[in-house]
C-alpha cells in the first residue's frame, strides 16, 4: 500500500462506500492476512513459514482489490477505528498454537471458497480470480487438520481444543450481508449447508468430534459484522495501524 497521497485523515473515508457488502469481505481478508503474517519467524517449520506468508499475501491482494473498489485502500485499512471494521470475529482470533491457526484456516477457507464460488458465478471479477487460490488455502488447511487430528495424542488434543474453541465464531459467517448484487444475491442457507457438510467430513476424517455447542456467543447484539469485536482485535489493529498513523503519507 504505497501509492497513497498525503490527505487529512478521514477526508476520503467519508467518500468511501462504507455500507457496501464487499467491505466485510475485504476486512475479513485484511485481518486474517495480518494474523497469518504474525507467524513470520515463528512457524514450526520453514515450509509452513512460507505457506502461511503466501496465504497471507493472497488475502492481502484480495483486500487491496476490494478496498480499491470502495475507496482509498490506505484510509480504509489504516485510518478506521475498531468499530468501523466489519470482519467476522473468527478471523481476528489470536493465532494460538499451530493447531488453533490451522482450524481457524479450515473454518474460514472453506467459507471463503464457497462464498467466492457463488460470487464468481454471478460474475464478480475478484471472486472469479481468487476462488482458485482459496481452494489451495482450504486444501492446505484440510491436510493439516488430518495430520494433527489423526496424529499423536498431543496433536489430536490440541486440534480438538481448537475446533471446540473456535466453533462459537462460525455462526456469524452465514449472516446474510445486505446490499446490491452480487453479494446481496448470495444463497446463505446453501452456503451454510455446504460448509457444514464439508467441515463435518474433514473433522470426522481427522478423528475429531464435530462440536455440538452453539455457533455463537451469549452476546446477542451482534458480532464482527456489526462492528462489535473481541478484546484482542483492538491490540491487533493498534499494531497494524500505528506505523501509518505515526507517519501520515509516508511511502517506501
Amino acid at each position: 500500500m504505497t501509492r497513497s497521497e498525503a490527505r487529512p485523515p478521514g477526508e476520503g473515508a467519508q467518500l468511501a462506500q462504507l455500507d457496501s457488502p464487499l467491505l466485510p469481505l475485504a476486512d475479513d481478508a485484511l485481518v486474517l492476512s495480518h494474523r497469518l503474517g504474525e507467524w513470520a519467524g515463528h512457524a514450526p517449520v520453514l515450509e509452513e513459514e512460507l505457506a502461511l506468508a503466501n496465504i497471507a499475501l493472497d488475502l492481502l491482494g484480495q483486500a487491496r482489490t476490494l478496498y480499491s473498489e470502495l475507496g482509498d485502500e490506505d484510509e480504509l485499512a489504516f485510518l478506521r477505528e475498531e468499530r468501523a471494521f466489519r470482519n467476522c470475529q473468527l478471523v481476528e482470533q489470536p493465532n494460538g498454537d499451530f493447531a488453533h491457526t490451522m482450524i481457524r484456516q479450515l473454518y474460514f477457507s472453506a467459507y471463503q471458497e464457497l462464498l467466492f464460488t457463488q460470487l464468481a458465478e454471478r460474475g464478480h471479477p475478484l471472486a472469479a480470480k481468487a476462488v482458485k487460490e482459496t481452494e489451495y488455502h482450504r486444501d492446505h488447511a484440510e491436510h493439516w487438520t488430518l495430520r494433527l487430528g489423526d496424529g499423536t495424542p498431543e496433536s489430536h488434543a490440541r486440534a480438538q481444543q481448537a475446533a471446540d474453541a473456535l466453533w462459537r465464531y462460525t455462526g456469524e459467517l452465514f449472516q446474510p450481508l445486505q446490499g446490491p448484487e452480487p453479494v446481496g444475491a448470495v444463497d446463505w442457507d446453501a452456503l451454510r449447508e455446504s460448509w457444514t457438510e464439508r467441515i463435518t467430513r474433514t473433522l470426522e476424517a481427522a478423528t475429531l468430534v464435530v462440536p455440538a455447542a452453539p455457533q455463537h456467543g451469549a452476546w446477542t447484539a451482534g458480532a464482527g459484522r456489526q462492528g462489535l469485536h473481541t478484546e484482542s482485535f483492538g491490540r491487533m489493529l493498534a499494531e497494524m495501524q500505528h506505523l501509518h498513523r505515526s507517519h501520515p503519507g509516508a511511502s517506501w
Partner: protein, 179 residues
C-alpha cells in the same frame, strides 16, 4: 482499379499493424521480475497494448498471476520503461482481473524455459475450479527427468510454486502449480 485514397488507407493500416506488432513485442519482451528466465508474453500476463493515436500515448493491460502478486507493480514499471526507451511518449499500465489468468496461458516456449531453469512447468488442462489437482498426474523432476517426485509443501518461494522433491536424484525443486 485502386484509387489513391485506398492505397493510402491500406498503407496506413499496414503501418498501424506493424506499429501494433512492435509495441506488443516490446511490452511482451519484459522479463518476469521473479522468474526472469521467461518474458511477460511467455507467462501470458500481457493482455493488450493499444496506441491511442499514431505516435501517441500507449495503454497496456496486464493481469496478475495471483491476486496478491507483489511483482505486478515492478512489471508495470518495467513495461513503462521499455516502451519509453522505444520512443513512446506516454504509457499507462492497467491491471485487469477478468478473465482470470490460468497456468494454461503460459506458452509452450515459456514452459520449456521454466523446465530448463529447474522449475517444473504446470501440467496442462486447468479447468475452472480445478485448483489443487486431485489426479496424481506425474510431475517430472527438472533435474534428472524422473517422474518419482513427492510434494514437500503446497507453497514455496512464491505463491505460484509448490516445493517438491525428486525421489530418484533426491534434489528438491520448485513446481509451477496449476491454477
Amino acid at each position: 482499379m485502386v484509387t489513391e485514397a485506398e492505397r493510402e488507407a491500406r498503407g496506413a493500416s499496414a503501418a498501424g499493424e506493424r506499429r501494433q506488432r512492435d509495441l506488443t513485442a516490446w511490452a511482451g519482451s519484459v522479463p518476469d521480475p521473479e522468474l526472469p528466465v521467461i518474458t511477460l508474453a511467455e507467462l501470458g500476463v500481457l493482455r493488450g497494448v493499444r496506441e491511442t493515436a499514431p505516435g501517441g500515448p500507449v495503454e497496456v493491460e496486464i493481469t496478475p498471476t495471483y491476486t496478491g502478486c507483489p511483482a505486478i507493480e515492478t512489471m508495470a514499471t518495467d513495461i513503462e520503461r521499455v516502451l519509453r526507451e522505444n520512443g513512446v511518449p506516454e504509457v499507462t499500465v492497467r491491471t485487469v482481473l477478468a478473465p482470470p489468468w490460468t497456468t494454461d496461458d503460459i506458452t509452450p516456449e515459456g514452459r520449456r524455459k521454466l523446465a530448463a531453469s529447474g522449475i517444473a512447468p504446470p501440467r496442462g488442462g486447468s479447468a475452472p475450479g480445478s485448483g489443487p489437482v486431485a489426479l496424481a498426474l506425474a510431475i517430472r523432476c527438472p533435474n534428472c527427468g524422473s517422474t518419482e517426485t513427492t510434494l514437500i509443501s503446497r507453497f514455496s518461494s512464491t505463491a505460484c510454486k509448490a516445493l517438491r522433491r525428486c525421489e530418484a536424484c533426491r534434489e528438491p525443486f520448485d513446481h509451477f502449480k496449476e491454477l
